[in-house]
């Protein structure tokens, strides 16, 4: 159920992004999300909710794609990384150490937006500058 609220948060961020550009010709094609495996998000449900939520809005026709990020922890006893699993109570298989440090898997990140715009040249140079 919380995928609805996650989608609301996503739409707020996308609306803010559009307002910042001050460019009414912006057409979003794809929104790329990174979703870690150690979050409460079910990627398929998020896509379904997104598709329903954007109907009739300026984002109608845009696509949400999700890249799942693996859940990786680090064993503080021997420094090796491992994939924590419930069968082993998320402890490290090497030293049976509890899960202290999480290296990845908690991501809930809007990675990037593919879009089209009339104001392409200006926007593109702004975007490139920002990422350097």
């Amino acid at each position: 159920m919380h995928e609805v609220d996650m989608t609301k948060c996503l739409l707020i961020s996308l609306n803010e992004w559009r307002e910042q550009r001050d460019d009414s010709s912006v057409m979003v094609e794809t929104v790329h999300l990174d979703v870690g495996r150690f979050t409460c998000v079910e990627p398929d449900q998020l896509v379904t909710t997104y598709n329903a939520a954007v109907q009739g809005s300026w984002l109608d026709g845009s696509k949400l794609t999700i890249t799942e990020i693996p859940f990786v922890g680090r064993c503080l006893s021997c420094n090796s990384s491992y994939v924590p699993v419930p069968e082993n109570a998320y402890r490290s298989p090497c030293c049976d150490h509890p899960l202290e440090e999480i290296l990845s898997g908690r991501e809930l990140r809007i990675r990037s937006i593919d879009y089209r715009s009339d104001a392409a040249a200006v926007v593109e140079s702004m975007s490139i500058q920002r990422h350097r």
């Binding site: 609220d5 948060c9 409460c40 109570a89 899960l99 009339d118």
Partner: protein, 234 residues
């Protein structure tokens, strides 16, 4: 001409909730008010714990409750009966409290009393082991409750809730003699996912363990007053 472009954001999906949660936290800081977010599955005993804890804590502290309840005011009525100010936040069909709902609750609280005169604000979240774990509301600490009747595997099935909580209260321990449940396994599973958690066994019926829980709350308040000036100076 429409040119294909890409904008790299690296923005947290929950940024909107996080901003509101930070705003709530700043408000709580201005009131010098410690806020705990109580979370559990439905029926783990959040309200029963508060019914026992609030009168005891109220002898030392001034306490109020923000009560998240999906559609009814039943829990709020139970807590008002023990003489503690309760602001009900009816969440409709939402399965968790979010920062905006708690912001509304803080405004209602302010209409009823002066929050700066309080020491402790307890937020009773909607009963659910999944969603509330992902939504900060501006609290200082997350407190998870797990009743012994739920079984020792629940920390493994809902790991994020137990990972993100500072305290886990194992409730209904008075029922242990009647159950084929392994208390050591519950503890082991919680501490495997979250070795930094404080785990306290309690019973709202017999009162067992409540002193330890109340001491934790008082310690959290004491830690605040010792760290707050340092933070302000920094």
């Amino acid at each position: 001409m429409h040119m294909p472009l890409e904008d790299t954001l690296g923005l947290n999906l929950l940024a909107a909730n996080t901003h509101q949660a930070q705003h709530n936290n700043q408000q709580l800081e201005r009131w010098d008010l410690l806020c705990l977010n109580l979370m559990s599955s439905p029926g783990a005993g959040k309200t029963a714990l508060l019914e026992r804890s609030l009168p005891a804590l109220a002898s030392d502290l001034r306490v109020a409750v923000l009560e998240g309840d999906m559609t009814t005011q039943l829990d709020a009525d139970r807590l008002e009966a023990v003489g503690i100010p309760v602001v009900p936040i009816t969440t409709g069909r939402a399965c968790h409290l979010d920062a905006a709902m708690v912001s509304g609750g803080l405004r209602l609280l302010q209409q009823r009393l002066d929050p700066a005169e309080l020491n402790l604000l307890l937020v009773e979240n909607v009963g659910n082991l999944v969603c509330p774990a992902e939504f900060d509301v501006g609290e200082h600490h997350k407190v998870a409750l797990l009743s012994v009747t739920e079984g020792d595997d629940k920390p493994l099935k809902y790991p994020l809730m137990f990972r993100n909580s500072d305290v886990v209260l194992i409730t209904k321990v008075d029922l242990l003699p009647h159950l084929p449940v392994d208390l050591a396994a519950i503890r082991h599973n919680i501490l495997s996912i979250n070795p930094n958690a404080t785990v306290i066994e309690v019973s709202a019926i017999t009162g067992e363990g409540l002193d330890a829980w109340h001491r934790w709350v008082l310690q959290a308040l004491a830690n605040r007053s010792t760290t707050a000036p340092a933070l302000a100076a920094a």
